[in-house]
Point group: C2
Chain length 473, copies 2
């Protein structure tokens, strides 16, 4: 392992100010927002210095200076992560890409767009739509940066049809910890030209290099989109219909399951009720929210008819078609507001985003409910039914923080062990960061962790880039 890290010196600050004039904050000038991400339970830390770069050259200069000085650097996009990945746990310099927010240009013939890493997902989505394109990845958090999305291989609602961020990153400009600038990948869709450093960089959470530009694949925007709300008496029937829908070849764009309680919470937060609670005298306890896209209204009508047949045969109570823009908006608003609604109502919050095989979702949630009774916090869950990616929240308004953390650690150990046993993975889309390292190490085993640490040393011999994250000490 590298020798100890050094503190930021006045000389280094002076050199950083010369390299990035007017965009270096030090000590008391640093905004408190930079001390945490959206899951502050993993610990806050004020970075001694924040640099807000605007170009690849500035990022390279910062990395060169900090590498020479052996000072840790933590890259940060919009700070919307949920695993403490962009928190300066080891002090040093926080390198913000938030001002690298230019869409550099579309190449309509090759259907790609080039962006700076700090462009927000929402900004690209809106801009691409104006050009007749869809950027398919659609994580719940629309105000994350695209650089952050690539660094965590963000997934989201549409992954069931369109895949995750990995599937849309064709090329990137990345600055190594030494300050070297690399171009990885190309705008082409196929490559077998040596080890895929591009795919290694995707999901490496800012520990191997700082992504400064991305070339992203776009697709022609589907002409029509429609959503269904499917009602079930219980979760088993709801989840049981998912593999049947997937086998049908109807290719839903999104396929989310929700239980009664979390829908009520979200609706009460929004002050608007959209999801029926009773159907013909039967209590509705679970919902599927399904979206289809297609090239014409006729094609979609056809898809909806076939999908309704599949889910009704699989035990659904009823199918509601959200065929007006308002209905669709309301249905998705309830789903999109879950985290916000939970956060607003909760003092102490922790979360996991395990992924299990689709046909094990009900089994896994049964296990979670069974163990949840043994703890003083509440457990709330929802998730992506089409790909088995579950968001499980631990919430308390009454516990002491130390006791909450102790109990959550015990809960998570069990929850991750069960996910691993069922053939799942620690994280579907949020990553490992600082908060999930020990669980990754348990799941992956010492040999995989040794390989990851070895790769880290190849890219970052002095260990200065985002230390303590993913496979770091």
């Amino acid at each position: 392992m590298p020798a100890g890290y050094q503190e930021v010196t006045p000389d280094l600050i002076e050199a950083l100010r010369a390299a990035v004039p007017g965009r270096v904050s030090v000590g008391g000038e640093v905004n408190e927002d930079f001390s945490h991400d959206e899951m502050p339970i993993y610990g806050k830390a004020m970075p001694p210095v924040v640099v807000e770069a605007k170009t690849t050259e500035e990022v390279a200069a910062v990395m060169r200076l900090c590498n020479e000085a052996r000072v840790p650097v933590v890259p940060r996009g919009a700070g919307t992560g949920l695993v403490g990945g962009a928190v300066a746990t080891h002090g040093g310099v926080m390198l913000s890409t938030a001002r690298m927010n230019r869409i550099l240009g579309y190449d309509p013939e090759n259907m790609v767009v080039r962006v700076q890493a700090g462009v927000l997902l929402n900004d690209l989505a809106e801009d691409a739509a104006k050009q007749g394109f869809l950027y398919p990845p659609d994580p719940g958090e629309k105000f994350a940066t695209l650089g952050g999305n690539a660094a965590t291989n963000a997934g989201g609602m549409r992954a069931v049809k369109y895949g995750t961020t990995r599937d849309y990153v064709r090329a990137m400009t990345v600055v190594l910890p030494t300050g070297e600038v690399l171009q990885l990948g190309a705008s082409v869709s196929k490559s077998s030209s040596g080890y895929s450093l591009l795919n290694l960089m995707i999901g490496s959470e800012g520990t191997l290099g700082v992504i400064t530009e991305l070339t992203l694949k776009l697709i022609p925007a589907p002409k029509e989109v429609i959503s269904l709300v499917v009602l079930y008496e219980d979760l088993e029937a709801c989840i049981g219909s998912v593999p049947k829908l997937m086998r049908s070849g109807l290719q839903p764009q999104a396929l989310e399951f929700m239980e009664r309680e979390i829908v009520r919470l979200s609706e009460s937060y929004l002050g608007k009720s959209t999801f029926p609670q009773v159907f013909e005298g039967t209590e509705v306890n679970a919902y599927l929210l399904v979206t289809f896209d297609g090239e014409s209204e006729d094609a979609l009508t056809d898809l909806i008819e076939q999908a309704s047949e599949v889910v009704l045969e699989a035990g659904a109570l009823d199918v509601l078609v959200a065929d007006t823009p308002q209905l669709k908006k309301d249905a998705w608003a309830a789903r999109s507001t879950f985290l916000e609604a939970i956060s607003a109502n909760t003092k102490l919050l922790d979360e996991s985003d395990v992924v299990v095989p689709v046909n094990e979702i009900a089994n896994y949630l049964g296990y979670i409910k069974q163990i949840a009774g043994g703890y003083d916090f509440e457990v709330k869950s929802f998730g992506h039914a089409g790909d088995g990616n579950l968001h499980i929240y631990n919430c308390s308004n009454t516990m002491e923080q130390a006791e909450f953390e102790r109990q959550v650690a015990d809960f998570m150990r069990k929850a991750y062990a069960k996910a691993t046993e069922l053939g799942g993975q620690i994280s579907g889309e949020h990553g490992i960061g600082h908060g999930k390292r020990q669980y990754l190490a348990s799941m992956a085993g010492p040999e995989v962790m040794r390989l990851m640490a070895g790769i880290k040393r190849v890219f970052d011999p002095n260990g200065i880039l985002n230390p303590g994250k993913v496979c770091g000490e």
Copy 2:
């Protein structure tokens, strides 16, 4: 770098025979087929020992023994590669996975299949079809192993709609050079759980580990498939219509371009003429072969009408619908026979499979034709129009081999430099192996090569696994 490799000793042979009883060939027992792949111009080498493993445990035992003895190991599937990747250039032990040919089981609810690495693509394709599934990757060579497909990230005809092998490998069992057995990935479709060693292994051409089992994603088999042959007066019009077709959202499953000369060669090899040579008095000089799939005949009829409109507006002479099984078979037979037809007619053959942006294909082929005149060999090309992956053949029946190799090296240097200049990559699907190392190094640059070599050392500290390939000396 590791110390020098050791020769195979009688002790090692004895230990290998104990580990893999009855399936170790030595010296004169070794079949000549093991001395080369399908592009012998890169040099033949008889391996001193061939081991035909049947299980992961046997592979692990072989690796442990050879690692301890510092003897090189070359993993080999069906030997259908085109870049000398599975040739024992450094002597040692050839480890064949050809007998690891069992389909281990389908998981229809999660739509995955588990196979041993030596299962042939064609065998899985046929078997999956019986289960109502499609395994989308469709490289021209149907008798390659799936392990080899993963090791080279093989692409093929359907990549334009469905992506390459990388997009279908959910998990693998891999044996490290030290004999350690790792499980990478899971049957789930989403993961953000540390560096993607799975994606690093895909496309690493047997230099980082030996793939012994794969969990592959399947999709529901499309109900209907239909092909079109589109006629053009010249290549420019042909290639020019491709981005328009891609933008249309009609999602062809395959999109191949062919020039007059190579179609005639193939038809004369097959003894059957399928592609019209003249349309209403105009000579046909270029063709697009387009395939669509869909859920119903009506949906396909609709797609074909729209596609015909797009290509006719873009300058096509005519569109022929291959709407009978025989017509479709004949059209694709001509395309699939290119390599065979060229090989049958050629004494000295070399090849490249560069990939360039889709809108640069015509420009690039113009350049190739322009420089081709300066050499004594013939140049023939065809390729995947939907993804810019071009197969360019150098053929001679009259040149001396040394002079052929000298001229080809000069041609390739120029051809790869031009591809790189246009934003392309060295290889779209064949890989780097032994034959393309110098071109990869020129394109990627010293820093990327340093990272690849560093990664290689992390996985293979003694450098015994497939030495001299990709980034090896």
